[in-house]
Amino acid sequence: MSDHSLFIWGSYGVFAVALVIELFLLRSRAKRTLQTLKDEQLVRQLDK
């Protein structure tokens, strides 16, 4: 591209990686929340 390609791809690369990390963390949190719900329900069932 040009002698500035490191600056351009450094910007776009970090931008893309940051969004991917956010989406990954978000997915893990959503899964963890769902698992907690399932666990709580199972504990309630076992307590009955």
Partner: protein, 257 residues
């Protein structure tokens, strides 16, 4: 026909709506980003002064705008939460803050990488950059305060106050290039007298809309997790957990019980 908007200020009503809307916003964000990147890299011409490096504008300006805009939205929710005492307002603030911080950090990063070849420096303590750094610290402060106070009602009030007071920084960031003599260039968009080529402007606006759709989608997914975490004792979440448990096996934690 009138719609009862207050209905969706209830977490129980908003939870399923957020789940339905999030995939649409992710889809819209992907399509807009693909169009914006296509025009930005393959159609928009090389800048006669800055060469290729100006293409950083297609992510720098949208992230900077989103950093400011998300904080304003949080301040709006803070106001609603304090005036109407709606629980969902605090949840939305919680859901928006990490994405706002991320966009602000990305604006600073991409700005530094644009500044080095253009101005000869990664960073100077000028008004625009310093006030944007303060915005990042406001986001960090918001999240730290939210985590530090255990009593949820007190945490919601304290963070709402911080969001409202911190919003004073937004006009300072926006008008800093007019009020002070800064190294940072003036406003990118001047209504009626934009100096940018049409294709450059189109790419930048498409990327801005993509970031907007992405932020909405992420906030909707995160607020669902926040709602469940905070409303665990509520009857409707109990019903939700019954549905979630379904025919599945207990997790490792339960097996250990």
């Amino acid at each position: 026909m009138s719609m009862n908007w207050f209905k969706y200020s209830s977490p129980a009503a908003f939870y399923p709506l957020a789940g339905k809307m999030a995939p649409w916003f992710f889809g819209i964000a992907a399509v807009l980003a693909a169009a914006g990147l296509y025009i930005g890299f393959l159609i928009a011409p090389t800048d006669f002064q800055q060469g290729e490096v100006y293409r950083i504008i297609f992510i720098h300006v949208p992230t900077a705008w989103m950093g400011m805009f998300i904080y304003l939205v949080m301040a709006g929710y803070a106001f609603l939460g304090l005036v109407f005492n709606t629980r969902l307002s605090a949840m939305m603030m919680q859901a928006l803050a990490p994405t706002g911080a991320l966009f602000t950090a990305l604006a600073l990063w991409t700005g530094a990488l644009w500044g080095r070849p253009t101005w000869g420096t990664y960073w100077v303590w000028d008004a625009r950059m310093t006030s944007t750094l303060i915005l990042l610290f406001l986001y960090f402060g918001f999240m730290a305060l939210d985590n530090a106070i255990e009593d949820r009602r007190r945490a919601d009030k304290a963070t709402a106050l911080l969001a409202l007071v911190g919003a004073v920084n937004i006009p300072i960031i926006y008008f800093s290039v007019r009020w002070w003599n800064t190294l940072h260039q003036g406003a990118t968009l001047n209504p009626g007298s934009s100096k940018m080529a049409g294709t450059m402007l189109t790419a930048m606006l498409l990327m801005t809309l993509a970031c907007w759709a992405y932020a909405i989608a992420v906030a909707l997914v995160r607020v669902r997790a926040v709602i469940v975490e905070r409303e665990r004792g509520a009857a409707w979440v109990g019903e939700l957990s019954s549905a979630a448990a379904g025919p599945t096996q207990p997790s490792a934690a339960n097996k250990a019980i």
